[in-house]
Amino acid sequence: MRRERKRLSVFTRRALVAALGQASLFGMLGFRLYRMQVIDGARYATLAVDNRVSARLVAPPRGEIHDRYDTLLAGNKPHWRALLMVEKTKDASASLAAFSRLIPLDPAERQRIAHAIMVHQPFIPVLLRDYLSWEEMARLAVNAPALPGILVDVGTTRFYPFGPDFAHLVGYVGPPVPGQLAGTPVLNLPGMRVGKSGVELQQNQPLTGQPGLVRLEVNALGRVIRDLSHDPGQPGETVRLHVDAGLQQLMATRLATEQSASAVVLDLGSGAVMAMGSTPSFDPTLFDTGVPARQWKEWVTNQRAPLLDKAGAGLYAPGSTFKPVVALAGLTSGAITPGTHFFCPGYLELGNHRFWCWNHGGHGSLDVTSAICQSCDVFFYHTALATGIDRIAAMARRLGIGAPPPIDLPGFDPGFVPTREWRAGQGKPWTLGDTVIQGIGQGFVQATPFTLALMAARVATGRVISPRVAAAVGAETIAHPPAPDLGVPEPYLALVRQGMREVVNNPLGTAYASRLPDSNMEMAGKTGTAQVFDGPQNEDTAQLPWKFRPNALFIAFAPFAAPRYALSVVVEHGNEGADAAAPIARDLMEAVLARDPASRSVAPGSVPGDPRS
């Protein structure tokens, strides 16, 4: 019994020790529970809400782009895509087989779909085919009962009704590139598009709108249980442009007669860009849906550069279209006067070099007006020498060439005018010969069709015209302050305008053939034929290979009496400005004058291509 007592006392003692240990472990659990639920409870509750609620941004529909008469230039088109909801079908492969009988799937697609079915949760839809045609969509809809688990979903694609006609001006959209994603979570949304060029890029912010926010209750697998709140967001604003779609179409058609050309038409009253185009062009819709590799290769290797907006970024020696700048620089600086005459023997001799006039026979004695009219090179050689390059450059910038382009579009090139300083920066002295050829817009000077139109507009009005593309964003009209005075004395401008008038309307003028048929309306203009390489002059340039032919240019404004429109046309390697560019300019000017709102009120709908007809 003593032994039993010893055993019992050991058991009792040790059992109590064990019980104490267990009690303290329970105490530890209780304390831990207190810390988690009472002290840190609020923090865990927040984590729990984070877990439960998934806030999803909803892509807002992108704003539309309209022309001045509210014709749709860029909109959103629904596109259909076929999805497979694996959990809604008993046999996914049977549904897939039925689907492929209606819409054949190639092996690569099958593989992608099989993989997607395998890796995704059954409630995540698997994309079978994107960009279904209307016919394919209808075929699926009709056969829906035989296609369990397959549904047709609607996405949106950017839609450009005029296709290539507005490709450069309106631009295009595409998925955002990683650099654009910073700080803008909305861009991470699938299907979100951003403007890549043109108006789409410039007005991207109002066009984008505000993303909606949907708060969803989700479970651990991400399956949506219910909507907690739904904010549809703010659709993008409609951006209305000054452009006239009918005129733009006409321009596109007219430019398409040339291999590579561009044109700009400006309204002198408001500074509105009425039309601006570049040919060849491209289908901007492809950038949203995906550019086929072959198409892309064709675009980037094409010498006619379809992707380049030549109207805003194409750089050309302005040739004789630069002569009004030289004339105004000479007149304002006093280097020449309205009465100054220079004799043209067909060339200018400087040192031992002979600078030819285009007319080797010579023009005889000319004043500034007739020199512009007949585009005498020798007169402007003399004027340039008398004026000096720096004063020519200053006048060019004042008229819009070589200065930051005043336009609400991205990617416009200012063009270029050389100065002594610039040349010195290159470590080369400025020579008189350099000055001579700047006088006829050759050499270093470069202009874009836009800056040429701008120059014509400023010469025509004597005001600092700043063209605008966008007229209104949503309901808000964009204010466009009246253009300030150019600061060039009116008599000098009048001389130059008179010269430009005679270019078109004087039988001696270089563009007499392109005068307006309506004798009550006079167009003033200036031809340009710019060499693209230093070849022997006065050769028959039409026989040269295309890319060595001179560029043909023309600038104009009309009506002469009260100018309302200015334009420029550049036909790459079009040979003679008078032959290739001037007729296009005449047709455009005729059209824009006919479509002028003043004349529209008389006979609405009587104009071909009028959207109101």
Binding site: R7, V10, R32, Q37, Y44, A48, R52
Partner: protein, 382 residues
């Protein structure tokens, strides 16, 4: 002495109705309350009776009858079954390695004509009974002889090794701890435990290299749950979030946002405590802990009240077993110790565990009912 003799005789003669009256009904109420909380939690796990709560209640009813039947069985008959039961369990454990079906990556189940048994569940009470039987006849001096301890230590290590091989680290550790605790109260000398702890300390790093990748991952994610928040650490992290968000008073019955939205993994089995704690908060879960503690301490009290060593060791061993299960489970869902498929007894969904737990309580009650029976060792060694 004479009074005791008389009482022994009296007890030996008592009939079934008298035995029923002797049953510690307080413990029975505690057990039923815990099972009730289990049913409530299982109901909330699904939102309906159908998938979990109903079958669990039916099993509890069956287990309850089994418990009472065992409670009324003479403890001496049970003692005779101790070693046979142990060896049957051991054989089953060996069989489960060969023929067992796979559940959650571990081979733990044996199927007998549609009835699935988890041999490791059966092994725990069987080991306690076998050890109690071994030490029932051992004096303090006898226990002091290391050679006498070799068979029981082997009896502990054999199932531990088999369970580790399944692999089920959590259950293996529990079985080892239960065996050790019985050795402890049976009077094994303390230096032996010191030696065992030292050996374990040396062996653990070596053992770690032999662990399964998922077991290593559990230990690593336990040490740093944010290491892999969507992988192995996900369970612990989500469990802590759900548990913590319960706050002081809880989200309310059936308002467990985390549990009902499936963020909580295996909520009806291993993580049932979290589900309960999210709904009933600190107050509710503390009450649950107190309930479990009361059952454990009642078991130890029954041991202390037993007049024979077999009853003492059995009651204590069963109490510790229950305690360890509950503790490991609760500590696991709180992120205190690594996750390892250990259910919360009586609360978690699962028939095998429920039935063996109820059998254990039956044995415990039998010890309590038969605390005063004359139960001398066959070979007198005291």
């Amino acid at each position: 002495m004479i009074a005791a003799e008389g009482r022994l005789l009296r007890v030996a003669a008592f009939d079934l109705t008298r035995k029923l009256a002797e049953i510690n009904w307080f413990l029975v109420i505690l057990i039923s309350a815990l099972a009730g909380i289990g049913a409530l939690s299982l109901y909330s796990a699904a939102g309906t009776f159908a998938p979990y709560a109903k079958p669990q209640l039916i099993r509890f009813a069956a287990g309850f009858a089994l418990m009472l039947a065992i409670a009324l069985t003479d403890i001496r008959h049970i003692a005779r079954l101790a070693w046979p039961l142990y060896f049957v369990s051991l054989v089953m454990l060996a069989l489960v390695l060969r023929f067992g079906s796979v559940g959650l990556g571990a081979e733990r189940w044996l199927s007998f004509g549609g009835f699935a048994v988890q041999p490791s569940e059966l092994m725990k009470p069987a080991l306690v009974l076998a050890l109690a039987h071994w030490f029932h006849r051992a004096s303090w001096e006898r226990v002091g002889n290391p050679a006498f301890l070799v068979p029981p230590v082997l009896a502990i290590l054999a199932p531990v090794a088999l369970i580790l091989k399944e692999p089920n680290l959590g259950t293996a550790v529990i079985v080892l701890a239960v065996g050790a605790s019985v050795l402890f109260v049976a009077g094994a000398r303390l230096w032996l435990f010191g030696l065992a702890a030292t050996l374990l300390g040396v062996a653990a790093p070596i053992a770690y290299t032999h662990l399964h990748d998922y077991q290593k991952a559990r230990i690593l994610t336990f040490l740093d749950p944010s290491r892999d928040p969507l992988g192995s650490g996900y369970n612990i992290l989500q469990s802590k979030i759900a548990l913590g968000s319960g706050g002081l008073w809880g989200q309310g019955f059936l308002h467990a946002s985390q549990g009902s939205l499936d963020f909580l993994p295996e909520k009806q089995t291993d993580f049932i405590f979290t589900l309960f704690a999210e709904q009933f908060g600190f107050v509710g879960s503390l009450a649950l802990l107190v309930l479990i503690a009361l059952i454990v301490f009642t078991a130890i009290a029954i041991g202390l009240a037993s007049r024979h060593q077999f009853g003492r060791l059995t009651a204590f061993g069963l109490g510790v077993n229950f305690f360890l299960y509950a503790f490991v489970n609760v500590a696991m869902v709180m992120g205190v110790i690594p996750v390892g498929g250990v259910p919360l007894p009586l609360v978690s969904y699962g028939g095998s565990a429920l039935l063996t737990t109820m059998m254990g309580f039956g044995v415990l009650l039998s010890v309590q009912v038969h605390r005063d029976v004359e139960f001398l060792p066959q070979r007198q060694e005291i």
